[in-house]
Structures are given as C-alpha cells and as structure tokens.
Symmetry: C2
C-alpha cells in the first residue's frame, strides 16, 4: 500500500483502511443521493477525504493542477455531502451528494451524458431480453 | 496521455479518447441499470473495455493478479452489460449492468455497503435540511 503523500488530518483509523494508487489517490464517485445518477468521478487523497467528511462539501485533488479544489467553488455548482462510504478494498469512495446544477464542466448534468459507446447488450438467461445469444469472449491480444 | 500498455482490438477512435493512468487503466463504475445502485469500481484497460463492449459481460483488469477477469466467471455473479459511457475527459467508464446476485466478493450486494464513514452532512442554502451552518473549510495540512 502506498502511504499518504501529503500531510492530512484524516482520522488514522480511516487512513489505515485506504489503498492508494501510486499518486496517493483513490477514485471518488459522486452520485446524486435521491435520483441515483452517477454524476462524475474525481480523485481524493487523504486530506481531500478529510475535508469532504468534515465540511459538508466535496473536495477533490486535481491531478492536472496538483491542488485541492472544492467542487463548485468557482462555478457555483456545489456538491453537498449526504453520505460517504469506502469500498471493500479501500481504493474507491462513494459520495452521495446533492448536486447544484451541472456536475460536468461542459455544462451537462453528468460527465457521462455525452459519450455513450456502442455496446453489445447482455441479458441473464431466462430474462425477457435474453433472446440473442451472447458472443463468446474473444481471445487476448489478437 | 499514457499509451495502451497491452495489445487490444479496441476501436482506435475510442482508444484515442481515453486518458489512461500510469498503468494504462481507467476507473470503471458498475451501476445496476434499473435501481441506480453503485455496485463496485473496477479497472479497465483498452482490451477489457473492448471485451466489455463486445461480449455483453463486464471484463476488468486485475491490478493484483495482472490479468483479465470476467466478473462472475467463478462466482456466477455475472454482470450483463446494458450500456457503456465514457466521461468527459476519458479517464472513467460508467457501465450500467444487470448484476446477478452479489457484486462484492464479501457476498454483499455492493462493495460500498459495509464501510459508511461518519460525515458532516451538507445542505444547499434554503433547503429544509439547511438548518445547521456548514463548517468552514480547514486549512491544508494542519
């Protein structure tokens, strides 16, 4: 496990459960608490998580600018925190929020609205949608 | 941008939009398509995304085992793909799925069910929940 790379006041008992990437970061998913929309994915280090847990607003770490940012601080599109959960191996954080306005810097409600990929749709056997056979898994690297 | 680190048959037009981390990976969020539950976060490289797009089932890259895995291949807890979207900067993937059984290896429905952190709850000004003032943002690294 990579240690925290920046100083933080995060509760040591929480910090001990984190599995950080080589940059000291965890993926943080922001989800609208009442509709369930997945709004965006950001990155948090220990201190960003600490601020998110203690201020009622989401704080992320900007990998490009190498600094903390409070979501919406300049745009007004704040994320008010409703709950925060770690995943089972401590490398992802789910923050349920009340998103003011657009979550995406493009002005769209979510960061996933603009680029839907063509995908083969799967269906569990026996379901009404399971008409067509699912293609077999292709071989690696061919 | 890091180039793909393993060979892949992913559509080059999609590959050109990806922003990979130093290991050639993007974060992939699996969300139950009908309830909106965020089930888990995995990691995909170009080829895992290609397989997810073409087989109807989610394939991830295991960072610990350094190999591809089809979700549920051993447990039976398959994820049938309903839709796949890239985020605005190409470093995260949202896969809406139909999850058979538990998404988490612990047997829980989602990987975020077990470790809910204590958090100060925020509320937008003027909302019914906005009774208590939101604490000010703490200074860095104190």
């Amino acid at each position: 496990m990579t240690e925290a790379v920046r100083p933080s006041r995060l509760d040591p008992e929480i910090a001990a459960r984190l599995k950080r990437d080589s940059g000291g970061l965890m993926a943080a998913i922001a989800q609208q608490y009442d509709t369930g929309e997945v709004l965006m994915v950001g990155w948090m280090d220990d201190e960003a998580l600490h601020r998110t847990l203690t201020t009622g607003r989401c704080t992320y770490w900007s990998r490009s600018r190498q600094e903390y940012w409070v979501k919406g601080e300049t745009s007004g599109h704040l994320q008010f925190v409703k709950s925060v959960a770690l995943d089972c191996d401590g490398d992802a954080i789910l923050v349920r929020v009340d998103q003011v306005g657009a979550a995406c810097h493009t002005g769209r409600r979510t960061c996933f609205d603009a680029d839907v990929l063509g995908a083969a749709v799967g269906a569990r056997p026996g379901s009404a949608a399971a008409g067509a056979p699912v293609p077999s898994v292709p071989a690696a690297g061919g």
